[in-house]
């Protein structure tokens, strides 16, 4: 009997269409592009602020354009998706064992949301929101 194993090719670029879970993964990966773009915009914005009131005003003006608003809505959606999917994965990477038992997943995920909330409050506080 002769052996002649058959190797099935994996499509190099279309593989993520084969399973919905692969698409969800790709969406999570894609989300970092929007977060990266938003971070770059913030850096650029700080530069405009440093350049004086006139450039800062022009920058704020540009943020009101329809394309800028569309970008912000998209970036917000992806940022939420990014945050929620990653937070949900944290118990896998950071299991906490107290005595004989593991802390329930919900507690670890919840702690991340609490941390997020506190940090956001701190940012708002230093920005003079209250």
């Amino acid at each position: 009997m002769s052996r002649r194993p058959y190797v099935r090719e994996i499509p190099k670029f279309r593989w993520f269409f084969r399973q919905p879970r692969y698409l969800r993964y790709m969406a999570r990966e894609l989300s970092c592009l929007f977060i990266g773009a938003y971070a770059l915009m913030m850096v650029w914005g700080s530069k405009q602020l440093a350049d004086g009131p006139a450039t800062w005003g022009a920058f704020l003006e540009r943020l009101h354009s329809p394309s800028s608003i569309a970008f912000h809505v998209l970036a917000l959606g992806f940022a939420l998706y990014h945050t929620i999917t990653w937070f949900n994965l944290t118990p896998k990477a950071l299991p906490v064992q107290v005595g004989g038992e593991f802390v329930p997943d919900g507690v670890i995920v919840g702690a991340h949301y609490v941390g997020w909330g506190l940090l956001s409050l701190a940012v708002l506080y230093f920005a003079g929101a209250f």
Binding site: R4, P5, Q19, R21, Y22, E29, L89, K92, A93, L94
Partner: protein, 247 residues
């Protein structure tokens, strides 16, 4: 017991006569509570004795009957026919070469398992007369879940990284390495790190998480891999930024 006719489309490949695999359709009368493996057995007994596939225990313990059922890696002995509508497509486990029909070549996985030394390497050898290596229930709990692996390779069939990067050591092998690393009686972590803290080890994983979703024993290999990443990163920082701290 009610019976119904189930249609199965099975990927066939005969290395002696076929240049590539093709689907073959079987209609077989099955009982309501049967699993895909029962249907395959009935086909083999009553319709086509040439159909080849692996199986042994029929109770999700031996890990032999992993195959793609409607594109999803499953144990054929745990895939209930009543959970599928219409024609059921059965293919050999993805990402492994096909030996014949539903039988895959698993040498790659077996070699990788060997590389991670999935056995206890005691910290200090002691004579049998000194008794067992004792462990508390909490110490056992730390790695217990990873001992449940049945080497079924469903996680490899689900992992797109393994499909694209065949050298990647892969989920089950890393989960098993982690199982021994987490064991209070073991002292072999440095040897295993050589394999799993490398590029072809955990760093080829991008945390798709598919392995854990398909694992029939809830081993959660994806979790093990991320934990190994974190520990390896801590090792790196200790070595490069705090060389005076002993590991």
């Amino acid at each position: 017991m009610s019976e119904r006719v189930v249609e199965l489309e099975v990927l066939r490949y005969n290395p002696e006569t076929d240049s590539e695999p093709h689907f073959q359709r079987y209609s077989v009368s099955c009982e309501e509570e049967w699993v895909v493996l029962d249907a395959l057995n009935k086909i083999k007994e009553t319709i086509d004795p040439t159909l080849s596939y692996r199986w042994s225990c029929h109770m999700a313990v031996c890990g032999s009957c992993g195959m793609m059922v409607n594109g999803e890696p499953k144990l054929a002995c745990k895939a209930f026919l009543r959970t599928f509508d219409g024609v059921i497509r059965v293919e050999p486990l993805a990402h492994f070469p096909i030996e014949r029909d539903l039988v895959t070549v698993i040498d790659d996985f077996v070699m990788k398992l060997k590389r991670v030394k999935p056995y206890l390497i005691p910290k200090q050898d002691k004579p049998v007369s000194e008794g067992e290596y004792l462990q508390t229930p909490a110490e056992l709990k730390k790695y217990k879940q990873y001992t449940l692996c049945i080497n079924c390779m469903l996680c490899y069939a689900a992992c797109p990284e393994y499909g694209l990067i065949p050298n990647y050591i892969g989920p089950a092998a890393i989960a098993l390495a982690h199982r021994y690393n987490q064991d209070s009686r073991d002292g072999g972590r440095d040897e295993r790190q050589e394999e799993i803290a490398a590029t072809e080890g955990v760093w080829d994983c991008s945390f798709v998480g598919a392995c854990s979703e398909v694992c029939p024993e809830h081993v959660d290999p994806a979790g093990a891999i991320q934990q190994v990443k974190i520990k390896s990163m801590v090792d790196w920082y200790k070595e490069h930024l705090m060389p005076w701290v002993k590991k």
